[in-house]
């Protein structure tokens, strides 16, 4: 029986690992996608921060779902969760994330094109260049990104299995996710939107380039995954 002290220490560890990992890894990994998406939607500071929060919420829910699954079938999973299984799942998750990224990029491009046509008729200024709410896309992006289980999360979940309490796995995954959210990315997302919004004359091009980069990132994610697995 694992003592309560060890479990509570693991909770703190999960949060700290999440914080460190979020600051170091998640920011550099997620920022290109997030910044491109923010650029694609033409968001400002507030909207950029909201998008970052929604994206992070998507990741957090993914981690929690993974925690629930591991918690419920933990004892049986300990026999299944080996390196090859994880690698296969990661491949599948990364592939899904790549496809979702491409779809979102394409969707943004279509919306931009549609908006452009409407703007040519009605919009009087670039200030009217708005392409609606895209929070659901940010959420999907975060949700699929979160499914790509990173090594520290895997280690934490594997560590939680002997606790034999499903809630522990969920709590560890949730705390890890929470830690990753409180990272410089939260500020950088808003700042990116703030800076890009300072160039209204380029708004259309920023949106097009942002969406284009998102598509390229999606394609490169898929290609890189295929290369590394082969």
């Amino acid at each position: 029986m694992v003592s309560e002290t060890i479990i509570s220490a693991a909770y703190i560890e999960a949060l700290i690992i999440g914080l460190l990992y979020g600051t170091i890894f998640c920011t550099s990994e997620c920022l290109p996608y997030l910044a491109s998406y923010i650029a694609g939607t033409g968001a400002g500071f507030r909207k950029g921060t909201v998008i970052t929060l929604v994206y992070s919420a998507g990741r957090l829910i993914s981690y929690t779902i993974i925690g629930i699954i591991v918690g419920i079938v933990g004892s049986s999973l300990i026999f299944i969760l080996d390196e090859s299984t994880l690698a296969s799942f990661r491949l599948f998750a990364t592939f899904t994330f790549g496809i979702i990224t491409i779809i979102i990029g394409l969707n943004l491009l279509i919306k931009i094109k549609k908006n452009q046509t409407e703007c040519n008729k009605d919009c009087k200024s670039v200030d009217e260049w708005k392409i609606g709410r895209y929070d659901i896309r940010a959420f999907t992006l975060g949700l699929t990104r979160g499914l790509v289980i990173c090594p520290p999360l895997f280690a934490l979940l594997a560590y939680s299995i002997p606790f034999a309490n499903p809630l522990d796995s969920v709590a560890l995954a949730f705390l890890f996710g929470l830690g990753t959210i409180i990272s410089p990315m939260l500020i950088l997302g808003g700042v990116t939107g703030w800076l890009l919004n300072k160039a209204p004359l380029f708004k259309k091009w920023i949106s097009i380039i942002g969406s284009g980069v998102l598509i390229i990132l999606g394609i490169s994610t898929i290609i890189l995954t295929l290369i590394t697995t082969n």
Binding site: F25, T27, S28, P184, L188, V191, T192, L195, F202
Partner: protein, 405 residues
């Protein structure tokens, strides 16, 4: 040590005294009302450039207790002696003292932002340039932003108009054009606005890039050979904007010209990777400098319209919420304006708002507060440069002589 410090302070005091004397002489001697502010500005620009590149190399080096003279002057600045122990790479006073040859006391804020923004958590030896910043990374970020915001709030973009050495370079280029009797060219209003806005895209791009490339410091990912932390080319990628900055080659040249840097250091490293044109300078630096020089020969303050450092200063002085508390402002009194359009024509960065806006605070992000419009405005007190609400420069009626004249 205390005698050395006293000597350094004395040298700085003498230099400051000389600058003040120069300002007074200009104010007394230059009677032409359409030239006195410009002359004063030119003097301040030159004085500040000397202060940055030559003044700061006076220091403890060369003394018996400090015989070592390095390859670059960054180790022998007065400020390094004053602040060096606490902040080995200097306080980020946002002036164009390039970190690469100068470093330490005053370092370009653009470099500091890129270098400190992401790898601030880095620790331990052998991690390349990031090693210094690790232990007090958050403190450094706070210092960088603190200084940048404070400086922007106090002098705003007057830094670009009055103090920036690269601004002086741009001004000199257009003076060269004038020597040949040619008038400068002007951008269309839309192009000028687009150029002004592009600086924020540049800032966003290099911030994102520095975060992505900064991840090398943690994981040792080599995007390009020999760029892993601690390896020779790492510094090229930890600060992406600096590798295209047109000011860096000039900083190196000035230091070599002043005898403060060893030219061999540059020449010996001129054959390396395709992007490496010297120990500090990349081929991109040289290419951008060439383009900017050609541009500056045709247009007034060509680089200043897209400069990210100017953009950062503008962000913290001309945009909400900073605009509300910024001290140095350009004011216009609508009742005294006759819409003659002189202010629009003489503005080096082609700012149109001073002419177009009705009155009150007309400080915009493109305005460098150089006060050329104030100098040339022929209507008494129509335009004013105010510091904390108090007028420091006012437009004068230069069309009619005063009683004294």
């Amino acid at each position: 040590m205390s005698i050395t410090l006293l000597g350094n302070i004395l040298q700085i005091a003498v230099f400051a005294g000389l600058i003040l004397a120069g300002i007074l002489i200009i104010l007394i001697w230059v009677k032409d009302k359409t030239k006195n502010i410009s002359t004063l500005r030119l003097f301040v620009q030159i004085a500040f450039t000397v202060l940055i590149f030559l003044g700061l190399i006076i220091g403890p080096y060369g003394l018996p207790q400090n015989p070592y003279i390095g390859d670059a002057p960054r180790d022998r600045l007065v400020g390094a002696d004053l602040f060096g122990n606490q902040f080995p790479d200097g306080l980020s006073v946002p002036v164009l003292a390039c970190w690469y040859p100068n470093g330490r006391t005053i370092t370009c804020a653009v470099w500091q932002l890129q270098a400190y923004l992401f790898p601030f958590w880095e620790s331990g030896p052998g991690f390349g340039w990031g090693t210094f910043y690790s232990l007090n990374g958050l403190q450094r970020i706070a210092i960088v932003f603190g200084f940048l915001i404070a400086m922007s709030l106090v002098i705003g973009r007057a830094f670009c108009g009055w103090l920036c050495p690269f601004g002086l370079y741009n001004d000199l280029m257009i003076r060269i054009r004038k020597l040949f009797g040619k008038k400068h060219l002007s951008f269309s209003d839309r192009t000028n606005k687009a150029l002004g806005q592009s600086r924020y895209l540049i800032i966003a791009a290099f911030l994102i890039l520095s975060v992505i490339l900064g991840s090398q410091a943690i994981f040792g990912i080599q995007l390009i050979d020999n760029t892993a932390p601690g390896e020779y080319y790492y510094s090229y990628f930890s600060a992406p904007f600096c590798q295209v900055c047109p000011m860096k080659p000039l900083c190196v040249l000035i230091e070599i010209g002043a005898g403060a840097m060893l030219p061999l250091q540059e020449i010996n490293h001129s054959t390396g990777a395709f992007y490496q044109a010297g120990y500090y300078v990349t081929s991109l630096n040289l290419a951008v400098l060439a383009i900017v020089t050609i541009g500056a020969l045709a247009y007034r303050r060509f680089w200043c319209r897209i400069c990210p450092l100017g953009g950062l200063t503008a962000l913290f002085s001309t945009f909400y919420p900073f605009k509300k508390v910024a001290l140095l402002r350009l004011n216009k009194i609508e009742e005294k304006c006759t819409k003659c359009g002189i202010c629009k024509r003489v503005c080096p960065t082609q700012v149109t708002e001073v002419y177009e806006e009705k009155g009150g605070d007309v400080t915009v992000s493109g305005c460098m507060l150089c006060a050329r419009c104030v100098e040339m405005c022929p209507y008494e007190d129509c335009l004013e440069v105010k510091m904390a609400g108090k007028p420091v420069l006012k437009s004068r009626n230069w069309l009619e002589p005063t009683e004294n004249e």
